[in-house]
Amino acid sequence: MNADKILDAKGLACPMPIVKTRKEMKDMESGQVLEIHATDKGAKADLAAWSKSGGHALLETREEGDVLKFWICKG
């Protein structure tokens, strides 16, 4: 899936993946897609909830080994 930006949040514990995602998304335009790589297992539920509460669309989630990948479209 194509992304406008990639955020490497691997190795970071809660709440850092969310805080970093928010920081990246703030500088992006509506409709742009951010790809996030994380190893914090909690990020799976957290990024889904964060997207929902912020009006963003979580397009896809993938697990590649220990790495969780997310694609979020800014609302």
Binding site: C14, P15, I18, V19, R22, S53
Partner: protein
């Protein structure tokens, strides 16, 4: 703003600091307006001398290794992030008077106020938490 979160921090161990700051930064990162009222031992969490070397709860000292392994951010790092995200820090005036501490003893950017200052913020909060 997506919501409003009001937190009372009234305990001062490392565990308490993580409970308070993780929720506060997560809420702020979710566009909540956030304020934390630091009272009694909770003042440790913003005390310049104390906040970078908070003690583990008694009997839990062995967990220090777990914190390192999980790569959780240091407390001063979380404090900086919370402030960057616009979290309001309110130090309890009464506790400061009792302990003989001035505002200079605490991290920059805090407000000092009484219970009513916090209540005014918390009265229409969506989420209210005490740690």
């Amino acid at each position: 703003m997506a919501g409003k979160t009001a937190i009372i921090a009234s305990n001062g161990t490392l565990f308490d600091a993580y409970k308070v700051y993780n929720i506060a930064t997560a809420a702020a990162a979710s566009d909540h307006e956030v304020a934390i009222f630091f009272t009694f031992e909770g003042l440790n969490l913003i005390n310049k001398e104390a906040y970078s070397q908070l003690a583990m709860p008694e009997g839990k000292e062995g967990i220090a290794e777990g914190f390192k392994k999980a790569n959780v951010p240091a407390i001063p790092e979380l404090v900086e992030m919370a402030q960057e995200l616009g979290v309001r820090f309110i130090g309890c005036q009464m506790t400061m008077d009792v302990l003989g501490l001035e505002q200079e003893a605490f991290v920059d950017g805090i407000e000092v106020g009484g219970a009513v200052t916090f209540l005014e913020f918390a009265k229409d909060a969506d989420v209210t938490l005490t740690f």
